[in-house]
């Protein structure tokens, strides 16, 4: 019994750290509140959609920025989508990088964009790992 309590505490602490470290924001809490008996897998489903969609967008971004003549409107459109979806699930750090990324798009600053792409990939990978851990432990 004590072991279970300990596990529960570890899980709670881990979950809290994700919020404290800014990986997740209040929107993620909102998602959890929408989950109930009639919709028991809602959070996992939405987050899975986010993973799929983000991977698609990151690939598109890499391709677009690799072109001879970068179409910045296209790049901006993809970043806008990523910003939106990360905001919708509460992936705060990803969303923040997207904001900076869009500014570089507006300036048509290739170097800035490439740096942001690296950064957003990094933040995405971090939050993905953390959410996957969270789901594994909560099951």
């Amino acid at each position: 019994m004590a072991y279970l309590v300990q596990l529960q505490k570890q899980f709670d602490d881990y979950r809290a750290s994700l919020f404290n470290e800014g990986f997740l924001d209040d929107q993620f809490e909102q998602l959890q509140q929408l989950q109930d008996e009639s919709n028991p897998d809602f959070v996992v489903e939405v987050v899975s959609l986010f993973f799929q969609d983000s991977e698609r967008l990151l690939n598109e971004l890499a391709t677009s920025l690799d072109q001879q003549n970068t179409d910045y409107r296209k790049v901006d459109a993809h970043v806008h989508q990523l910003k939106g979806s990360s905001s919708s699930i509460g992936a705060q750090r990803v969303q923040r990088v997207c904001i900076a990324f869009r500014n570089f798009c507006e300036e048509q600053n290739t170097e800035g964009c490439l740096k942001c792409l690296q950064q957003v990939k990094h933040e995405y990978t971090l939050v993905k790992n953390k959410l996957e851990t969270l789901f594994k432990v909560s099951n």
Binding site: L34, L49, D53, G84, S87, S88
Partner: protein, 195 residues
């Protein structure tokens, strides 16, 4: 426990983002609305039985059967994203308001950008509400008055009040049922914890 299908309001949700479609669909279903979600303005118009060029569907053109089927299903409110490739939410709003058959359907716009000029333009051109994304349950709760306004004919005042009272009663009873269910679950949880 639930409302019969014909008593439920039917909302058409339009958003190009698969994540946001899932989110708005869930928010609306939790609020007891029937939902159809599409990923573009043109698909929305198709669902509404309106082709982009003309007011009525041409009988000579072999229609896609879903479109015919959906013309029977009444749409009570349209909630649409603003930024979409091709037809924006604003374009969709304009098309709906310019259509004889659709102009009375309330339209709500959602957007991630908090731009006052954009918000004002949408409201001035007929949108009932403008929600900032990510949309919350508290936003969806604001939809009911707009739906109730259009739901009755004849004496608007008294009939609407009755509708509102009935809705409120049903909401309360659903909430009570939910609370009872949660309480029961808590009791079960406690039993397990005590093992």
């Amino acid at each position: 426990m639930g409302m019969a299908a014909e008593d439920q309001f039917h909302v058409l949700a339009v958003d190009d983002s698969i994540i946001d479609r899932k989110l708005i669909e869930t928010l609306l279903k939790i609020s007891s609305y029937q939902v159809t979600a599409v990923d573009s303005g043109s698909k929305a118009l198709e669902f509404l039985g309106l082709h982009e060029e003309d007011e009525q569907s041409d009988a000579n053109i072999p229609s896609v059967s879903p479109s015919n089927h959906h013309q029977v299903l009444e749409v009570n409110l349209i909630i649409t994203d603003y930024c979409m490739p091709g037809m924006t939410g604003y374009d969709l709003l304009r098309k709906i308001k310019e259509s004889k058959s659709l102009k009375d359907i309330p339209v709500v716009i959602m957007s991630s950008e908090n731009e006052p000029s954009r918000i004002n333009r949408c409201l001035e051109d007929g949108a009932q509400e403008f929600f900032l994304k990510p949309v919350q349950l508290s936003d969806v709760n604001k939809l009911r008055p707009h739906l109730l306004k259009g739901s009755s004919k004849g004496n608007q005042h008294t009939i609407n009040k009755t509708d509102e009272a009935t809705m409120e009663q049903e909401n309360q009873s659903t909430e009570r049922q939910r609370n009872i269910l949660y309480h029961d679950l808590e009791v079960v949880q406690l039993e397990f914890d005590n093992l």
